[in-house]
Symmetry: C2
Subunit: 325 residues, 2 copies
């Protein structure tokens, strides 16, 4: 594959080229990795910058409906929208449940929308690394807004927040003890908490839940990257298209403030450093999956389990073999 041509096609907004480029960065093969690095080098020169929005919410809060309504609203404003997913369950469950086009019927038919399901089964670190590069590709392809969705379990939120400029937490209305259900760590990542389903019978429950979270957010330590009144909790109704515009305005207020005060660029720099570290770690550990080391480790693990060699001694043998190439 000609990387220069692929990069040009991606930057020209060719959807098939974008899809092919993402497949390339998702690949686990060594030769593909080398090509992906070359591609990302060239892509970086586009100079384009999208707004990257992380979105988390447990199944049932209406994430797909929200993305569909929110995405359609943005497209009507003339923006180009990409939707990516980090699915923490993909390594264990049968398949990728997120970013499924069939869940966002209207959006998936728009020429200014690009929806990509979560990468195939792999450990979270691998999925994350690939998605981060996919974000860069969508950005270079001219998308104005990139939504990166995940599911509320903890580790995947950290990963998504490390590739987002803004982090949204989508919640459903609930009883009084629901506050306990959201991990404190996830709440602390959120820039905006959106309580969805503020419609019909659930409207007043949504408002109560929103007030509860607004109260909880006030107890969270003030972050330097936030203007007054942020992080914030609001109600929305994705199904009735309500509150989405207000939420979008809040996102813009927050982003503008961070750009003016230097926090936007600072965060991107920190994120790049974070992924640099993650890529090194991932690259180092992936050596253990390759032959002949893989067989050596399996053999030694057997001896360790039998008590024939200490874990420390066996590990030192592996490390020595690694150093000798």
């Amino acid at each position: 594959m000609d990387m220069k041509q692929l990069a040009e096609d991606v930057i020209a907004g060719n959807r098939r080229a974008l899809a092919r480029a993402i497949t390339l960065v998702e690949s686990g093969r060594d030769d593909h990795r080398a090509q992906a690095i070359e591609l990302m080098d060239m892509i970086g020169k586009s100079g384009r910058q999208a707004l990257r929005i992380g979105l988390s919410g447990t199944p049932g809060v209406g994430k797909s409906t929200f993305i569909e309504s929110f995405g359609m609203m943005l497209i009507k404003e003339g923006l180009k929208v990409a939707v990516l997913a980090v699915d923490p369950s993909s390594s264990r469950s049968g398949g990728s449940i997120l970013g499924d086009k069939t869940r966002m019927e209207l959006l998936s038919r728009e020429k200014n929308a690009f929806i990509r399901p979560s990468p195939a089964k792999s450990e979270l670190g691998g999925v994350a690394r690939r998605t981060r590069e996919a974000v860069g590709l969508c950005e270079a392809a001219g998308y104005d807004l990139i939504l990166i969705e995940t599911v509320g379990v903890g580790q995947s939120e950290t990963v998504v927040s490390e590739m987002s400029d803004l982090f949204l937490l989508l919640l459903a209305p609930a009883g009084g003890d629901e506050l306990q259900g959201v991990k404190r760590g996830i709440m602390e990542m959120a820039d905006l908490i959106l309580v969805n389903k503020a419609d019909g019978d659930l409207k007043s429950a949504a408002q109560r839940t929103c007030a509860d979270y607004a109260g909880a957010l006030r107890l969270i330590r003030k972050r330097p990257q936030d203007p007054k009144d942020f992080p914030k909790a609001m109600t929305v109704s994705a199904i009735e298209d309500r509150g989405l515009r207000e939420a979008w305005e809040e996102m813009n207020t927050l982003t503008d403030w961070r750009r003016v005060h230097g926090f936007f660029d600072k965060r991107r720099s920190e994120q790049a450093e974070y992924w640099f570290g993650q890529d090194i770690r991932h690259g180092l550990l992936s050596q253990l999956e390759k032959e002949p080391l893989k067989s050596m480790i399996a053999e030694l693990a057997h001896q360790v389990a039998q008590g024939e060699i200490t874990p420390g001694h066996a590990a030192a043998d592996v490390l020595k073999a690694l150093q000798q190439g």
Copy 2:
């Protein structure tokens, strides 16, 4: 240092030699690591096996008092007791708070007790690796029972349970919503939940809390390594020396059952494999802390933050440098 002599002295029960050996396995120096591996090879030949008991509990539940009373009871039965600690906070807080001798005044004066504070500040993985080898040293030195204490925050419990035959969770009596405070993952690790402070005014609260946890334990998926009725919740009073004997009997019942059914040895084999994997990972990642790589990484991190090079490209450069040694 002569490792053969040191091993012999440790096996002979020399306390100073044991302390010196633990200091050696705790060291981060490369030459010390090589010596520690040699030492652990020789130590393994003692053929001795202690009962390794992990103990977790948040500050305030009376962990020190429990260890003191429980340890003294065992010593009166003619057993030798070692107390080690894995302190997850030691890397951040001022010093090691656990395993402090001054907290266990009676026990620390017994010649058949050996108390070792948590290793000096370091990341949890490092502390864990060292403590696991310290457990092996205490075992070889003829201690019958090794208590490994930690504090209830999650990750350190995993680490301690990976070096223990039994895992105890110590709790204090509390109100009805306290059940939420203990992470489900920690509860699932526990073989025995001990509700301490079942004395004076707190006695009935302790019994209520114990009943709550007994109920919660019944909802946990049955594990193959447990006989009927385990995991179990009981009340104890460390300060009044009540329930400790009963708890000890339960520990023995459980251990005997696991030995007879092969789960005891199986678990030790699995743990040895686990630590083998951890040691490899730790050894691999520690390469990044050494020169000249450390400086190279710092320089590249700066360029990554400035956007002069992509994270993936910079990481590939580091990995190439590593391979070229």
